[in-house]
Symmetry: C2
């Protein structure tokens, strides 16, 4: 049995950068950038009017000229056709390009029409370039703006659009097989007798991968039967990642570790000093197939998908942001074991921010994690946690 830290280290060591693919910007929300991104030109790309108003020469205003002739109205997207001379102004709309002849905009609110095409302009505290966002003042051309490993959220997506990335290099999703095992399990659509339950782990595993926009290519259920398991795992091992639930403990029907090894998967660890999830088995197949074999109880699956599988995916996707944040706990807690223990909890905000574990009825309780925000780690070397101590909180 190895430590949690050692397990993470082993997983990190076999993580590899996923392939890249160039996809349409229309489909890249939630995917992860596989390259750095640079500005294609200055931003703003032109001197941009930030107000509706009148664009004039600052020198004119300094020389106390107040009445101006409107020589052109410039809308956003429109190129000016006229050179501005002293005593003249452009009427200009927000977002329009201010011709280089002008270097000051007076808001429409501070103007007064004195005759057709003539305005009187006022400004309490006139400044050169006022109400003009200067070309390049936000970002110069070829400036680094987005890093490889950035998850594409709304802001990143819009930035990619702004800089003209109609096609975006993202990490290609690995192929994924999910295999649930257990004679007691029936599909959700099937009837159950009084010793059977419905299979739910595959839904937990799929949801965990969905966070990274990875969808399974193969979903199988297998009875605890060596022939059937061998056949199913053989099929599963044709994929980049295989996640199995159940069959990894020491019970008489727990064939998974042995069959994986028979199929050429090299065991990298079996059993980790954690609760829940202790019997987890991890290995690597002949074509670099990564195999996570998780214990069958749903709480173990939820914890293991986050602490181990998401950890692996973040390494493969170059996501630097840690999976946990450090927050205070808002309770005292005494630990009765010598394992790293993960506790479903609520993250509270307000005057006091922190986590409070949720009571539940053992790891088989179907609703143990409903209404929780994630789980926190009660480390193995601390028997007692006091309210206010910092802990690692993992959000679902």
């Amino acid at each position: 049995m190895i430590s949690f830290e050692k397990a993470l280290e082993i997983i990190t060591n076999v993580a590899y950068p996923f392939d890249n693919e160039e996809i349409s910007i229309e489909y890249c929300l939630g995917r992860v950038l596989a390259t750095d991104v640079f500005t294609d030109r200055d931003y703003p790309p032109f001197n941009r009017a930030s107000m509706d108003g009148f664009a004039i020469k600052f020198d004119d205003f300094q020389q106390t000229i107040r009445d101006y002739k409107i020589i052109e109205t410039i809308y956003a997207g429109q190129k000016s056709e006229f050179e501005l001379k002293s005593g003249e102004c452009y009427k200009i709309m927000t977002g329009a390009a201010v011709p280089l002849f002008a270097n000051m905009i007076i808001r429409v609110e501070d103007s007064q029409e004195i005759a057709p095409n003539f305005v009187k302009l006022a400004s309490e505290n006139p400044k050169i370039n006022q109400n003009i966002a200067q070309k390049g003042e936000d970002k110069k051309a070829k400036t680094h703006i987005l890093s490889k490993g950035t998850v594409i959220n709304q802001a990143v997506l819009a930035t990619l659009a702004v800089v003209g990335k109609a096609l975006v290099w993202v990490y290609k999703s690995p192929t994924l097989a999910i295999v649930s095992t257990g004679n007691e399990l029936r599909k959700v659509s099937e009837t159950v007798n009084d010793v059977q339950i419905r299979e739910s782990n595959s839904y937990l595993i799929r949801a965990a991968f969905e966070n990274y926009k990875i969808t399974p290519n193969l979903l199988l259920h297998s009875l605890d039967n060596e022939a059937e398991l061998t056949q199913n795992l053989f099929q599963a091992l044709k994929h980049n990642i295989v996640v199995i639930s159940g069959g990894v403990s020491a019970g008489d029907a727990d064939f998974v570790p042995q069959i994986l090894q028979n199929l050429g998967v090299k065991m990298l660890f079996h059993k980790v000093q954690i609760k829940p999830g202790k019997p987890i088995w991890f290995g690597i197949g002949s074509s670099n197939t990564i195999v996570f074999a998780l214990p069958g109880n749903p709480l173990s699956v939820q914890v293991a998908t986050k602490i181990f599988i998401a950890h692996f995916l973040q390494k493969c996707l170059s996501i630097a942001k840690p999976l946990f944040i450090e927050v205070p706990i808002l309770e005292d807690r005494i630990k009765k074991n010598t394992l790293d223990e993960f506790l479903p909890c609520v993250l509270e905000f307000g005057e006091k921010t922190g986590v409070i574990s949720k009571k539940f009825n053992g790891s088989g309780d179907i609703s143990a994690t409903i209404d929780t925000d994630g789980f926190y780690l009660h480390p193995k070397d601390k028997q007692i946690l006091k309210s206010g101590d910092l802990v690692q909180f993992y959000k679902w």
Copy 2:
């Protein structure tokens, strides 16, 4: 110009429950439950072995019997066929149904084989029902477990599977049209000249709806031209929700409010005392079409989609959880206006949890919200915020 609170109230008043639809559990991650959900049977549905071990009669152990004859091995999913008599035991696997004849399980670690099919059992602190999760101890049949308005995350999804919901009643997504406007805007795939920029607001709006698994049915871009805008908005108004960006201010090319009213959309408000996003226009069309017309700058769009559009959607979807949390700010701030001001910020955790606003170069800065977690509200009636004051934080 109305207050932020008044705007929210008006939006709340026109929110309506979306239709319901029954969909396969395979597609319901991220959707919202439209009905309460109850357990179909007791959970656990049978007395479940929580350890691999030997199931015996507690009375036998109390009467100091230590050597037991194994009469049957019971695997998960298997029905027992034999009645247990005094001095006998079942060998049993985790997850298996414990026959009613037995009421105690001794772990395999505490057993010793003394002859073929005979074991010696030990238990330091024997208890009735030990290592047996009792039928119904987690939840009785017909117990309320999930509420209408619950967003289906991994835990909810798995719970739906457990209780046999192969089909799930969720809120049906409304139809959605998104119309960007502006002569200066080009599609991301098109070339831009030196007075044009690329359209990015539609990506921000789509991402905001994607949070609720709503995808647009119609995406249009319109020039600031009354005929073209009229035609595009006429098409858009055939949908349940219309979101427009640009063309709502007081510029000469800002035709959107007038055209919407020409097309029979009743204005419910125009301009709200907020920054950014002040010029927002909101109305309702003849077939109950909800119309949000947002200002064109990307920061306004990001704030307005959260504070107004997400607010509307949460009401329609019965999502009770508030859109913001209350957290301390970790900076002092003086406000220079009398508006409710929303500031892109980072949410920090650790010894001190709270928000810090991110400096950016005006609302046109393309990277203003990159690397931020959301925004906080500096309320209009507080000129000064001191470090430690609680503010409303909206996560992206």
